[in-house]
Symmetry: none
Subunit: 292 residues, 2 copies
DNA sequence: AAAATTTTGTAAATAAATTGACAAAGCAAT
DNA sequence: ATTGCTTTGTCAATTTATTTACAAAATTTT
């Protein structure tokens, strides 16, 4: 007999309940009363909690179609994992029903996991501190990224420039970086993006910045760029996806949230500033109908 | 040392994370990525899933203040029992302990919704078609973005350039765009990022491209850029977040998944090419130790 | 009420998990 | 490159869990 993989174990128990003997039902009841955690301890403990003997637990598991207790428990865990997994991925099936293995699905799952576990790790005090730093117009801001993280640095710069003055994006050629630092002084902020493989140039730049008393805000990955020892604040995110390189999605997410936080800090000034800028852009670039 | 019963284990890990060594963090990361189920199997299995040895798992548990692995596990179960009993904390399975209204959490909710609803709308056949187009080395590729989407265009260009030849990122100044089109001919591909407010320049460029028989791949938002009428393939995503502008996170997600798909199509060539490039970059830029 | 049958538990055998001791590998400082 | 220190894994010892075999208890049938 093989366990039906379609049914949850609780459904399985309900459907087979009439086949169970008195003590077996006692075990089933105990499990259902605290489902599924009551089934996740050792067979000894589980039996003790239900006031039955260990062989009875084993026999029940076998009756439900499992080879042994460990198999039963593994099924419980698997089920729990799916239940706890992000409700969005799990429940909201796609209209067009792309197969589970489609790369979009694979990526979605990995990205959701990256996002949720990054959120669990990020300290929101750090986030708040960083957003205050970036909102403080007494500090100049320089932004720099590595080879692959340059676009994210660009994104942050573009958006911050809308919100405040004195925001510079360091060019992508490392040779010119030290030069840029001359414009910064003690108390100014260097935002640095460094994910693996960590670049020595960024490390050097951080050293220089530290010597000048410039505050470093570091975006890195879970393995932590060596720059983190010099950084005033470090925001580490998870970046693993099923491909040959790393994902910048969660980093971009944090960047956007930060920009939104800065926007909130500076709302009065921002409002006026954005109007001005919009006008400016309207003159430079032509826009089409504005939706909504 | 006794485990503080006030803290959840995930909080405990976060607070002691800096005390953990490399492999210990690997365990912590694995646990956090699939919390708390990843910690509920036997120590052997848990270690195997994290690709570390069992003693390392044990040492981590002890470092966190538990007497042994079974004690650690019992704490996880106890916590899980409480979590499952109280639906209010449900959300905290994927957010951290920051208050519900914290902008990080607000953003997380919005972003997850954007991602899932975009996934539901995107036709995976379109996605596959686009990935084939981009993988076809007989077609030249030009990439262009608007004012705010330029960084995403940059990201796509940087990554595609690793995978194949003939990838150009159009500069951010619209006046030079038409010039670039001269390098493209019938059957080549123009990837265009256009989210509200839709830019007239991009629209003009699309018209020109269409006249020359260039295939247009459009990334836009749910309201659809006017370019969509000229596009061979349109990928529309949801972009709303609680801030003054729109989110590029989901767009970047699709871009990354596309790059991964192209990588798969072209694996044999890619492999060699990436090796060459790595070497080239190693000569130009200096990298520090490569993690993992 | 006794016999037959089923259920349940005890206890031993087996298998597996946990832990500890130590050696190898990795890393940092020189 | 060498040394000293830290981290990590291997392997064996120990403990614990799981399973089996069988006997006792309970239940049902006659």
């Amino acid at each position: 007999m093989v366990a039906n993989t379609q049914l949850t174990i609780s459904e399985l128990i309900r459907s087979r309940y009439s086949d169970l003997t008195r003590k077996e039902r006692k075990f089933a009841d105990t499990l259902m009363a605290n489902y599924p955690v009551a089934g996740l301890a050792s067979i000894t403990e589980v039996a003790a909690n239900a006031n039955i003997s260990t062989p009875t637990v084993l026999r029940t598991a076998k009756k439900l179609g499992f080879k042994g207790f460990p198999g039963f428990q593994a099924a419980l865990r698997k089920e729990l994992k799916q239940t706890l997994a992000n409700p969005i991925v799990k429940h909201e099936r796609w209209a067009n029903a792309a197969p589970e293995e489609h790369i979009l699905n694979q990526f979605a799952i990995a990205t959701m996991e990256n996002l949720s576990s990054s959120l669990r790790q990020i300290d929101h005090h750090t986030f708040d501190k960083v957003s205050e730093l970036l909102a403080d117009e007494n500090r100049k801001i320089a932004i720099v990224g590595g080879r692959l993280s340059h676009s994210v640095a660009d994104y942050l710069a573009t958006h911050l420039q809308v919100l405040r003055d004195d925001v510079t994006l360091l060019s992508s050629s490392p040779s010119r970086w030290p030069h840029h630092l001359l414009n910064l002084s003690k108390g100014d902020v260097l935002v640095l993006f460094d994910v693996r493989r960590y670049e020595a140039n960024l490390s050097d730049l951080a050293k220089l910045a530290e010597q000048r008393g410039i505050k470093i805000v570091l975006f890195t990955d879970q393995w932590m760029s060596p720059v983190s020892t010099r950084a005033a604040h470090t925001l580490a995110v998870r970046i693993e996806v099923p491909s040959g390189w790393d994902s910048a999605v969660v980093t971009l997410f944090i960047v956007e949230a930060l920009v939104a936080a800065v926007e909130t800090h500076r709302w009065p000034q921002t409002r006026a500033r954005m109007k001005d800028l919009e006008k400016l852009f309207d003159d430079t670039r032509r826009f089409l109908k504005k939706p909504e």
